[in-house]
């Protein structure tokens, strides 16, 4: 591969991994638990800003007339962890406002409006994160310490993203395939039934809202490190809709479906159209991309609302012997047999 192709392929793969982390976080909320977080991009933004503010020097260090809080100039992994933490912490107040009591589409609308408000707020506050201009000059992690060419650094960063994506996959898989995952699906399908079986509906929702927020924050931090600049135009409300389109296209509550959707929607449509010859003024194709994404959502909700890879409906109860019921054991355990739900035995 020529260096240019390598650069392109590696950057697409990096964006794929970063988006996939965010999509899993959102599907954990939307697909598995039934939380309609139409403000999801705000969590990614919180992570990105926090990572930036923890990695940058104080504003006075640069001669660029920027104003922002923080600027702690911490070494590499710490700002990323701070970004993930910021996403999780933001979920506490937003969850209190939007998720605690609101239902269904009303919740979706309230979250959408909160997202619009967050953008307007950051735009209006010049001192918080440098207002509409946003923050920039974030140094890529270890880019000065590692003896790498720019292309070599691309592959190294892809390695980092890949490792983090796999860790996130492990976490998300552990949750959705565990008994707790069943609680989440019960909360989604019938809140009343879940509560009547003694499950804490609100605790489950709050936990997943925080966890999804943390994953969004993590992906925002990785994105911040990769693109090195972040401003309010990076996180307008349509970006949340892009994540939802990914989930609807790929398959709701299906981790592989999420990956397929992430491959198809942002990479092929948004990135693929970069190769088209320029028509009209710069930015016209970007606008038309969004029109296509809207049409894609309408089309899938009409023709195939379950997505390309639908959720697997579990009809069998896995037989788990006594003493092997911890989450860790369950994951390693391959059941020798499965019992049908209808079997009326000693269970």
């Amino acid at each position: 591969m020529s260096p240019a192709t390598q650069f392109y392929v590696s950057s697409l793969s990096i964006l794929f991994g970063i988006n996939l982390i965010a999509v899993w976080g959102l599907d954990l909320q939307y697909g598995f638990t039934g939380i309609y977080n139409f403000a999801y991009i705000v969590f990614q933004a919180a992570g990105a800003y926090t990572t930036g503010l923890f990695a940058l020097h104080p504003a006075a260090y640069y001669q660029a007339n920027e104003t922002y809080v923080g600027g702690f100039n911490l070494p590499f992994p710490l700002p990323l962890l701070a970004g993930a933490a910021a996403g999780g912490l933001l979920a506490l107040p937003l969850g209190f406002i939007g998720v605690r009591r609101l239902k269904g589409d009303y919740q979706a609308m309230a979250m959408l409006v909160l997202s619009l408000i967050a953008t307007a707020f950051v735009n209006a506050q010049q001192n918080l994160v440098n207002g509409p201009t946003g923050i920039s000059f974030v140094e890529k992690p270890l880019s000065t310490q590692l003896p790498l060419t720019p292309l070599g650094y691309q592959w190294a960063y892809l390695g980092l993203v890949a490792v983090i994506t796999l860790i996130v996959l492990w976490i998300v898989r552990s949750i959705v395939s565990s008994p707790y995952g069943r609680v989440l699906r019960a909360v989604r399908d019938s809140e009343t039934a879940a509560a009547s079986l003694g499950r804490h509906v609100n605790t489950a929702r709050r936990t997943i809202f925080v966890l999804g927020g943390a994953l969004a924050g993590l992906s925002g931090g990785l994105l911040m490190y990769y693109v090195t600049a972040w401003s309010p135009t990076s996180w307008l409300y349509p970006e949340t809709f892009l994540f939802f389109t990914i989930i609807v296209v790929g398959g709701t509550a299906n981790l592989a479906g999420n990956a397929l959707g992430t491959l198809l929607v942002p990479i092929l449509i948004v990135e693929g159209t970069r190769f088209l010859p320029q028509i009209g003024y710069p930015g016209l194709i970007d606008s038309l991309d969004w029109v296509v994404i809207g049409l894609l959502m309408l089309g899938f909700l009409w023709f195939r609302p379950q997505g390309l890879l639908p959720e697997r409906r579990r009809k069998w109860v896995t037989f788990v012997p006594e003493g092997r019921r911890s989450l860790h054991d369950l994951l390693r355990f391959r059941p020798p047999s499965a019992l049908p739900v209808s079997t009326r035995g000693e269970r």
């Binding site: 309609y36 139409f38 209190f96 406002i97 939007g98 009591r101 609101l102 239902k103 269904g104 589409d105 009303y106 979706a108 609308m109 309230a110 959408l112 409006v113 619009l116 408000i117 307007a120 707020f121 209006a124 809140e191 409300y237 349509p238 809709f241 939802f244 389109t245 609807v248 009209g280 003024y281 710069p282 930015g283 016209l284 606008s287 038309l288 969004w290 029109v291 994404i293 809207g294 049409l295 959502m297 309408l298 909700l301 009409w302 609302p305």
Partner: protein, 295 residues
């Protein structure tokens, strides 16, 4: 003390602008049971159409007419061709929210593609001003207040004194019972889309004329205000939306005058958050028995 007449005058003026949009939004939700998140985009499209037809010169009466016709047309087409088929196909309420946001994006970015990297501005003509009780207001602002009051009275008359209004209220509260009493809920819903769209278009044109310039996201930011007014009053309740708009207009005008103009919007956001935390069903929710919005 001398601030008070100004606060009230500009609060009323903003409230009138908000009320037209909020009543249209909430009326349509109440009757058709679909949250129309494309409302802001339809509102923006009305600005563009008025600007294109009026060639950039604001003409308030003509604009109201164009906005009403365009908004009603788009809204009925949107409701009948897109929303109702999805509802009949059994799309969940949240899927409907996604459908309407999808349409919002399609409209918003089509407008952006047409507009390109420009901001449209109306050519501002010298306006005559009127002085009332120590407050100077432009003729345009007074016309907007007048138009809003007339529209609100018209909505009130429609809902309370006509058979159609009765049918609308019945459809909002209990659609299947209304149907079994001989109300054609399908036709009533189409009418609701029509009325809502007309109000949406009018509020879009008035917003464009009163702010002077706009682009493809103006409607999306005004949509915040519309939703805040609707939520204060309880979504689906036209009278609630009127009172919500009044509260919102007066509070944000007071915040702008007393603290600083930057706090005009922040006051609205604080009200929204307080209402969502303390009384998410809206202040006036008990006046009507729509579907449950909170758990």
């Amino acid at each position: 003390m001398s601030l008070i007449p100004g606060i009230i005058a500009f609060g009323l003026y903003s409230a009138c602008l908000y009320a037209i949009g909020a009543v249209g939004f909430t009326l349509q939700f109440g009757v058709t049971n679909v949250l129309n998140l494309a409302y802001g985009a339809i509102l923006t499209s009305a600005m563009y159409v008025d600007y294109a037809i009026g060639r950039g010169t604001p003409s308030i009466w003509f604009g109201i007419l164009i906005g009403a016709v365009w908004g009603a047309l788009v809204s009925v087409v949107f409701g009948r061709v897109i929303v109702m088929p999805y509802v009949r196909r059994g799309a969940s309420l949240v899927a409907m929210a996604m459908v309407t946001i999808g349409v919002a994006l399609i409209v918003q970015y089509t407008l952006e593609a047409i507009q390109g990297p420009f901001v449209y501005s109306y050519q501002v003509a010298q306006q005559s001003t009127v002085r009332i009780a120590g407050v100077t207001m432009s003729e345009e602002q007074l016309i907007i207040i007048g138009a809003a009051v007339v529209l609100m009275i018209a909505v009130h008359a429609l809902l309370q004194y006509t058979r159609l209004g009765l049918a609308m209220r019945a459809t909002a509260v209990h659609p299947s019972l209304a149907r079994s009493c001989g109300v054609s809920t399908e036709r009533v819903r189409t009418t609701a889309w029509l009325v809502s769209g007309a109000l949406c278009g009018i509020s879009g044109v008035l917003l464009g004329i009163s702010t002077g310039s706009f682009d493809s996201v103006t409607g999306a930011s005004f949509f915040i205000t519309v939703v805040v007014a609707a939520i204060i009053g309880g979504v689906g309740k036209p009278y609630g939306a009127m009172i919500g708009a009044l509260i919102l207009g007066l509070v944000s005008s007071a915040a702008a005058a007393v603290i600083s103009p930057d706090y005009k919007d922040i006051a609205a956001w604080v009200i929204l958050i307080v209402v969502l935390v303390i009384r998410p069903q809206g202040i006036f929710a008990e006046f009507s028995s729509g579907r449950e919005l909170i758990g």
